[in-house]
Amino acid sequence: MKYKLLILILLYIALPCKAIEKEAIQYRSINSSHLFSIGSRSAWDTYLSPSSYKGLNLGYIYDQIRLSDSYKNVSYQSLFRVDFSKMDNKAGNGEMWGGFLNYRWGAHYRWTVDPSLQLLGGALIGGTVGGLYNIRNSNNPAQAKINLGLSLSAIALYKVRIGNQPILFRYQINLPSIGITFSPHYGQSYYEIFTLGNDKGVFLLSSLHNMFEMENMLSAEIPFNSVTLRVGLSNTYMRSELHQLETQINCSSVFIGFVKEGIFFSGKKRPKPAGYQSPVY
């Protein structure tokens, strides 16, 4: 009951006053994507270096959407992302590693504009835990990135047919808007924070005034026999200025993976019944 209340609160924050109709629908499927990404990441963090670093990024994305059992036109999403990058400075003699784990969960309300186009708007809660590690720095080798909070989220689902091939285009944008983030002070060492215990002000409120984040995913889902292929582009962007420390992290990747969709009961997939309703198709 508590989580349903939370969802309602999130939706009312994210959406204009819109009645959410309660409706029991029997057959609601779960749409899950397992995606593997490869691309490039650039990182600039003045706590570590005034120079920017750029390199290869590898990642995995798990994206799950399911329709609400209780509320008409409401769907829930779990979005998990983990990636790792190895970057070099422009001179080619400095190396930085980056690793990030991102999880967001929340709800969207959906509007069916026409049979081929659905628009979803809502909010997600969650955040990012990870960091950058500059291998040659001595007392400031790493910068932890911990952001937890609320994101506004929108999804567009557009069904088309090219020849005989049906394709679903899916675009999602998440805008983390308010939350809590971690940052040492301008010249403060992690030794002072964690060994000496001077942690005052290292967790602070983040919002658009000091941090801008955006996550974009654009993909095409193409069914082949029993398998649905999902390919696309992903971009995560973060820029912050906290305690006069500036950070900009940008990651652009292509991803490919497969989509599973079905109705699951006690862990087993059931055949599609009449009245079946997909969260994306």
Binding site: S42, W44, S49, P50, S51, S52, K54, N89, K90, A91, G92, N93, G94, P115, S116, N134, R136, N137, S138, N139, N140, P141, A156, Y158, K159, V160, R161, I162, P166, I167, F169, Y171, H185, Y186, G187, Q188, S189, Y191, E192, T195, L196, N198, M214, N216, L218, L233, N235, Y237, H243, Q244, Q248, N250, S252
Partner: protein
Amino acid sequence: MKEFRFSSSISLLLFSLMLLSCDKEDEFNNTPSGNMEALWQIIDEHYCFLESKKINWDSVHAAFMPRAKNVSTQESLLNLMDEMLDILQDGHVNVSTSFNIARYWEWFEAYPENFDEKIQKNYLKTDYYISGGIKYTILDDNIGYIYYSSFENETGENSMDHILYRLALCRGIIFDIRNNGGGELTNVQNIAASFTDSKVLTGYISHKTGKGHSDFSKPYPKYLYPRTSSTYNYYKQVVVLTNRNCFSAANEFVNTMMQLPNVTIVGDKTGGGSGFPFSSELPNGWGVRFSSSLSLSPKMEQIEFGISPDIQVSMTKEDEDKGLDTIIETAREYINNQYLK
């Protein structure tokens, strides 16, 4: 489903993705002037002693930047940087390249060494113990002698327990850190905690809070806490031996130990180095190290330029010819006198 149309909305989304992929451009070019400007700015915005050392960093810019235009080789660029950074008189400030390191070492090179490893062997002999990077033995007059060459050497509670167990019945301990150029501050705490039975204020730390030369945090107190899990602590006379080559963490160790009532500092003034060093880099990838936070004594005094001993003494030629270390001998005499009181 509708027939496919590459709608304007999809084009707009793709365009926004492309815009986001723009990366941060570095502020300075990889040219001699660009690298000099970058170095000057790193120090200007991050170095913590510009104000306390009364350095006019803008005048340094005016003096050095025109010279950068005439630099033609990497070596001459490094020499120019070295010359500029020497103004800071800080052993924690370096520019590291694959062919050389720009450094300031006058804090010990301009003074007597006051340490001779060959003479030290007359005291350690050959049957000394080694534990956690510490060499130790018991001298003929039942005084424990410990030599710790670097705070990089990991020294935990277990090592200190073994050492203090063997030296428990000694009249006192000589803790020699001469030529110790520093290392991990955690080792300072691990070792010094063996010599106190109460919480002791050892100083303050203050970090930069912004780019301004006087932007500092409120000094945060540092305490030494007694070990709680150890078996052996030592509360009898301890003499710490110092020379000009005691730098950084070794300087902090002296500052910490001298707050304890049973500790006396003997030897020469330490080399200083109270800044907590951070790393950065130039557009050409050369590494830069600089002091980012400053440590202060419990009286809020700067210890950047070293700590004077309680008993100032230098090694004499006469003693050296006899194979004696004047500083060790002074410490032995002090402990024996205190013991007999």
